[in-house]
């Protein structure tokens, strides 16, 4: 039993389960998944489907955070990617042509990658604090998206493009499959190659990493580029899901949700250790939270309070200090493992720059 509760993902998973069960009380057939037109259909599937873009963005964010950075520009990249793709498709005579759609997707992802790389250069080469470096694109990026579309919402009518966000494959939503594939590939690359270890090292102690010969700059660049790419893919999904691109609203505030997902998943914002599985759980918790709001009919005015309470509860439960201080009375007093060793300074010596 203790082995289970000790697992770093135990608490987020628990909260996810509790949230889902909460829905069940309000709506007894919440867990029912039925077949409809050859697609699986049900609330759980919806959570996965609408959570897919967040999962992707949070995936990229996890890697960035692992290196001790943060990427605020993901929301803007989401909107730009959608804008680029939809603009290209809308200009085609046959919007259903697969080649045109593929080109549009490639262009959008290329642009997203470029924007990510720009962030990476700002952080790793010019040495600007990540929050500010990415704030620039966060502000300007949405302007660029609107510029691309001349401030209008572009509506397209392209079946192949629509597949990305609203299509189905093997009875499952394509978006979910794409997101899970990305997650699986990334997780595999991180753990099978040494990339994960090197990122954790850079995030854990940048100077020590330099002295063991890790070329942190290119790693950091890579990570921001991946984050851009993930955000771009999420942007395609979001715009494809509604067959239109909205420069102003697509991906608005998704950066906060993504960061939240990463932290709920147990990755510390200070960098170092990261958990991709945790991030997936975190993204699902957040999406389930929205769904719960709809299911329970929480009025829009109190939605945020509801959200605040849930977030606080998750994070408190996750905190060993909280558990030992509040529940400690009932068990033998033990030193919390994660809070351990206050003697060891967690940060490196920081010299005023």
């Amino acid at each position: 039993m203790t082995a289970v509760t000790r697992h770093r993902l135990f608490w987020p998973v628990l909260v996810l389960v509790v949230l889902l069960l909460g829905n069940l009380i309000e709506k007894p057939d919440f867990f029912v998944i039925r077949m409809q037109d050859g697609h699986l259909y049900g609330s759980l599937i919806d959570i996965l489907r609408f959570g897919a873009p967040l999962m992707l963005v949070a995936l990229g964010m996890t890697l960035v955070i692992a290196t001790g950075g943060i990427d605020l520009s993901v929301g803007s990249v989401v909107s730009i990617a959608g804008a680029v793709a939809c603009l290209h498709i809308s200009r085609q005579s046959d919007q259903n042509a697969v080649s045109g759609v593929l080109l549009a997707v490639a262009m959008a992802l290329g642009v997203a990658l470029l924007f990510g790389a720009f962030n990476g250069v700002m952080v790793s080469r010019i040495g600007i604090q990540p929050i500010i470096a990415t704030l620039i694109l966060m502000v300007a990026g949405r302007g660029v998206a609107q510029l691309i579309m001349d401030g209008q919402i572009i509506t397209i009518n392209s079946a192949p493009y629509k597949w990305i966000g609203a299509g189905w494959l093997f009875t499952l939503p394509a978006a979910v499959l794409i997101a899970l594939t990305m997650v699986a590939v990334t997780a595999l690359v991180m753990r099978r190659s040494a990339l994960g270890l090197l990122l954790e090292s850079v995030g854990g102690n940048a100077e020590a990493s330099r002295l063991v010969g890790i070329r942190a700059r290119s790693l950091v660049l890579l990570v921001y580029a991946i984050s851009g790419l993930c955000a771009g893919l999420a942007g395609l999904m979001i715009s494809s899901n509604v067959s239109s691109a909205d420069g102003n609203n697509a991906g608005l505030l998704i950066e906060l949700d993504a960061i939240l997902a990463v932290v709920i998943g147990g990755t510390a914002l200070t960098g170092g250790r990261f958990s991709i599985g945790g991030t997936v759980i975190g993204a699902l918790v957040i999406q389930t939270l929205s769904t719960t709001v709809y299911t329970l009919g929480v009025p829009p005015e109190t939605t945020l309070i509801f959200k605040a309470v849930v977030v606080t509860v998750v994070c408190l439960l996750q905190s060993p200090a909280f558990r030992s201080k509040v529940f400690g009375r009932w068990g033998p007093r033990r030193t919390p493992p994660a809070s351990g060793s206050p003697s060891e300074p967690t940060t490196n010596a920081k010299v005023p720059a």
Binding site: G42, N241, V242, V293, P299
Partner: protein, 307 residues
């Protein structure tokens, strides 16, 4: 951005060209962009020099802009308030500087109506009422329960508050009409679709969808289709604004009725500006010309839609 960088000192000066300072809310929607375009185009057409600023949906930016206009001594200031309160101090400054102010699109809530010369724009409450009127007419004589779901705009936004109120008050008298779920779709297609999907999962029996704007309705339509129902038939859809896509959806039979909210008030505004500069008295409240469009009118109106 031209117009501001002129070299003849105080932009307005003795120059005979009228200078209009316009502080726009932002570029948050296609509707708003159409509004901006209309104002720019008609200013150019009328030979009025337009100084335009974009507040990015922030009241403080808009106040800064207005203060800047006062500083630059423009002839007339016009703006679409982000929110209806909080303008007294800066409008007093404008009044003290002798610059007339025209409100567009949204009203301000001030005891001192002398702070602005006129307000031109739609009445969001009336829009909500019109939406309800259509619904009441549609179900006239039938005595069955009508389950309505509502997609609200962003919390705190004036159109969301007023459209909800106008609609809600108008159907309140008839107990057959019941709003079974109401949630914010934040005025966007993506959220509209997401919320509608959840509504469809938890409410098997939806008769009517009332969306505070077209974008949410357009998103919701896709959710309804994915759930295997027919929008416009299985679920009747009422929407507000009247963007081109919504008219297209009406033509396709997916939206039943659109209450127009007209962003193209540029020509009317320029007219007013000229009158105000000329010293003519204008009415305190000018409504924009707006209609209610149903499916049978949609096909005819579609080619003329400009936004």
């Amino acid at each position: 951005g031209d117009g501001t960088r002129d070299d003849d000192g105080g932009a307005a000066g003795g120059d005979d060209k009228i200078v209009l300072g316009f502080a726009q809310v932002g570029a948050e929607s296609g509707w708003r962009t159409a509004n901006t375009k209309s104002i720019q185009d008609s200013a150019k057409a009328e030979g009025i020099e337009l100084q335009f600023t974009d507040a990015q949906q922030k009241q403080e930016n808009q106040i800064k802009s207005i203060r800047g206009f006062i500083q630059q001594k423009v002839d007339v200031i016009a703006f679409s308030p982000v929110v209806n309160t909080g303008w007294d101090p800066v409008l007093k400054e404008a009044k003290a500087a002798g610059i007339p102010v025209i409100l567009t699109d949204r009203a301000v809530d001030s005891q001192d109506t002398s702070l602005y010369v006129t307000f031109i724009g739609s009445d969001f409450i009336v829009e909500g009422q019109r939406a309800a009127d259509w619904l009441l007419k549609e179900y006239e004589g039938k005595n069955e329960q009508v389950n309505i779901v509502e997609l609200q705009g962003s919390p705190g936004a004036a159109p969301a508050i007023d459209r909800k109120k106008g609609f809600g008050d108008a159907i309140a008298a008839n107990p057959n009409f019941k709003i079974i779920a109401s949630q914010t779709g934040e005025f966007t297609r993506a959220k509209g679709k997401e919320v509608m999907t959840a509504f469809l999962q938890s409410n098997p029996d939806i008769d009517v969808l009332y969306a505070h704007n077209d974008d949410m309705a357009l998103g919701a339509i896709q959710a309804i289709e994915e759930a295997g129902k027919k929008p416009g038939t299985d679920i009747k859809i009422i929407s507000i604004d009247g963007v081109k896509d919504a008219f297209q959806a009406m033509v396709d039979g997916k939206i039943n009725v659109v209450v127009e909210c007209n962003p193209l008030l540029g020509p009317q505004l320029m007219d007013l500006v000229k009158k105000v500069v000329a010293g003519e008295t204008v009415e305190k409240r000018i409504l924009t010309e707006e209609g209610v469009f149903t499916q049978d009118q949609a096909a005819a109106a579609l080619p003329n839609r400009q936004y």
